[in-house]
Amino acid sequence: MTKINSSGLILLIARLAVAATFLMAALPKLQAPLEFAESVSAFQLIGPVASLWVAITLPWLELISGIGLVIPQIRRSSAFIISLLLLLFIGLHVSAWNRGLDISCGCFGAHEDLTADYTWPILRNVILLCATIAIAIRDFRHHSRLKTPKA
């Protein structure tokens, strides 16, 4: 049986938390793509048609990366993609805050409070990013130890 030490347990909890967050973020968007497209459009960075394409593909990427984080075969790349997405989300929120946009986050679908509060979404994404980076580092080290190519 594999022995799990305390840091391993913390990382396992972090992995499950990040995966669950991405699943919870993806499912409402998949159910209401039009509303999510409106949230994307409200950031005023891309047009309505491009927003709709984002609303169609991004929730699937979130869903598969979220699930992928707990699948050993694809968990490194899932962590990498989640990190990139979180960096993108942080950048978008900072940009919207800087431009004084009064918009909802749209992070968990469109059924959110419309009052813009950027502090919590940015802080939450920074925490998730730190957790994902820690998970990715562990996965890379673990994978390197396990699979060394034969000469």
Binding site: L34, E38, I56, T57, D102, I103
Partner: protein, 148 residues
């Protein structure tokens, strides 16, 4: 210095990550394609459906609504839809008494507009106003309005 073993190992890691990424991207596209084909997602190339609570100018005009202009006052002064009332986008609640006077004299739909397609103010105000005035029929105008 990297020896051959290290180089082979690095190449192996890059290749395996590349395969993983391809797998995730492939699954994402399969999911998106499923959404489009099953009708779960709207087709971007089709005429977009109007979201709930939104209305086009032509349809709103037929209703002879109370127009609420939620653009900055400078834009309102430059030009607005005939008969529109100005609503301070920063403090829309202050416009409620005037709006109620107009609405009580002749109850009809209320349509809020701002300046562009991506403007979110009218949608946001319409949502909050529906909670404040549940008996009124309130829309926001899709596409916004500008004085051109």
């Amino acid at each position: 210095m990297f020896d051959q073993g290290d180089q082979r190992h690095s190449l192996f890691i890059v290749r395996s990550i590349f395969k993983e990424l391809l797998c995730i991207i492939g699954l994402t596209f399969i999911g998106a394609a499923y959404g489009l084909l099953s009708g779960l997602s709207p087709k971007p190339w089709a005429k977009p459906e109007l979201p709930a609570g939104a209305i086009h100018f032509a349809d709103a005009n037929v209703l002879n609504p109370i127009w609420l202009d939620a653009r900055p006052v400078e834009l309102f002064e430059q030009g607005h839809i005939e008969g529109a009332l100005w609503l301070d986008p920063e403090d829309w609640e202050s416009g409620i008494p005037t709006l109620m006077d107009t609405w009580l004299q002749n109850p009809r739909p209320i349509v809020i507009y701002c300046s562009s397609e991506t403007c979110n103010t009218s949608r946001s105000i319409a949502k909050q106003m529906r909670d404040a005035l549940p008996q009124a029929e309130i829309y926001y105008m899709e596409g916004g309005w500008s004085h051109d």
